[in-house]
């Protein structure tokens, strides 16, 4: 089949980060990505993405403001092509001077996440003292002509604080709040049992969010992302493999999904060796699960096959060891029980903090 038009590019500028959040979806072998693309390489990547039809460029990592000149170069390159730019950051390096440079480069949107609504829990999860400084950074962003989203990744340890998190967003005057349950990839998959919310927490969260949405209609948009492990339908991951999204990692590897590097049965190409166009249109990794031709049963004959695209390939690989199977999050998967069983595992006392050294 011919390749569809990509709409969105995620640039992971570095995997270095001053935080150690256990729910990070970055790969556990962070040290393998130390050879980072430079500003010139990112300008080229962004330009090639614009040629392919990409409209939105997200800068993340790791912490993208640890390489500020690279991040600014990528924003300027995207902006010069009329693309929408989004900076996903923990925020504390965004002083007035750096923020002004981002605005001048054409930045459209900033997302800053908090780990919890109060410093004690937030700093314990982040592994360092950052919460109060994040709130200051949020204030600096909101005083400028930038769109802003406050994000909080939810898990067992902060899920019960969801009302306080919404209250914090209100106090800050935030227009858009994203309450996203942990996606279990990378470090989060390692910490799955510690992070897994209970079914009661998730149901409580849903009702709190529903009430808050009603109350804050027209003032704040609240996005609530459910965890896969309690669902009967899989998420339409990336709107289909190689369909609309691509990710370029710090060392130039191009992935159909930010978590795809964990799929050891596929070989992923690098922008150091190949054009982004060839990788998107023709590479074996991007064509492997594009469209519906690859699908096994029960996806092949399912009337939702072009709605949820068989779910998430990375999740099928992480849970079942085969990226070509139906996402076990789907109730029609013969392996759906594996998700229920994983959700019921008793949590360990401590989590594994995200660090650059490889896991044993």
């Amino acid at each position: 089949m011919s390749a569809p038009r990509p709409l969105s590019l995620l640039c992971e500028l570095t995997y270095r980060c001053n935080l150690q959040c256990p729910y990070c979806y970055n790969p556990v072998d962070l040290g393998a990505y130390r050879e980072e693309l430079d500003a010139d390489a990112w300008r080229r990547v962004v330009g090639e993405a614009a040629d392919l039809g990409v409209l939105q460029v997200h800068l993340s990592g790791g912490e993208p403001t640890l390489v500020p000149e690279t991040a600014l170069a990528a924003v300027a390159a995207a902006s010069s092509r009329g693309l929408y730019t989004n900076l996903i950051t923990q925020g504390t390096f965004l002083d007035d001077a750096l923020l002004d440079r981002f605005v001048a480069a054409g930045l459209d949107h900033v997302q800053i996440s908090v780990q919890a609504p109060e410093a004690g829990l937030a700093d314990r999860i982040a592994g360092t003292t950052v919460h109060e400084r994040k709130l200051e950074a949020i204030d600096r962003v909101m005083r400028r002509d930038l769109a802003f989203t406050l994000n909080c990744v939810l898990h067992r340890a902060n899920h019960d604080r969801i009302e306080a998190t919404i209250a914090l967003a209100e106090r800050l005057g935030v227009r858009r709040l994203e309450l996203a349950n942990t996606q279990f990839y990378g470090w989060a998959f390692e910490n799955r049992a510690w992070l897994m919310p209970t079914r009661e927490q998730v149901r409580h969260g849903e009702s709190v969010v529903a009430a808050a949405r009603e109350r804050l209609r027209g003032t704040m948009e609240i996005v609530y992302v459910l965890p896969d492990y309690f669902e009967d339908l899989p998420k339409p991951c990336m709107h289909g493999w190689g369909n609309a999204f691509m990710t370029v990692t710090p060392n130039g590897t191009v992935l159909p999904c930010p978590a795809a590097a964990a799929i050891r049965t596929l070989a992923f190409e690098s922008v150091r060796d190949r054009s982004l166009r060839w990788i998107w249109e023709s590479s074996p990794s991007f064509t492997a699960y594009r469209g519906t031709g690859w699908m096994p049963e029960p996806c092949r004959s399912c009337d939702r096959r072009e709605i949820d695209f068989g779910g998430c390939r990375c999740q099928a690989f992480a849970v079942l060891g085969d990226a070509g199977l139906t996402d076990p999050a789907c109730a029609k998967s013969p392996h759906h029980d594996a998700m229920r069983a994983a959700a019921a595992v008793a949590p360990p006392a401590e989590f594994v903090p995200r660090r650059m050294r490889a896991l044993q």
């Binding site: 459209d108 930038l146 769109a147 989203t149």
Partner: protein
């Protein structure tokens, strides 16, 4: 509400690719617009109210503004509810 001028919120941008394809670029998302929605969105400029937009479209398509007013108001209200547009 339909008489007040409307503008896009910060972080919301209209982008037209060609006669049939247009997008609304929003925080962390891309919305492909129908031809009708695109025709309305294109006229949101911080000076026109929804009523004025209906007026302009009626002229362009040689239609009755009354017939367009409800559609324009509904689309503008959906933008406002999502925080994608506000009063100028």
């Amino acid at each position: 509400m339909s008489a007040e001028a409307l503008r896009f919120a910060p972080g919301v941008r209209f982008r037209r690719e060609n006669e049939r394809t247009a997008f609304l670029l929003v925080p962390e998302g891309i919305v492909e617009l129908s031809e009708t929605a695109a025709a309305i969105a294109e006229l949101i400029d911080g000076t026109r109210s929804p009523d004025a937009i209906a007026e302009a479209l009626a002229q362009r398509y040689d239609a009755e503004p009354g017939a367009l007013r409800a559609d324009v108001a509904e689309f503008c209200e959906s933008l406002r509810e999502r925080g994608h547009a506000t009063e100028a």
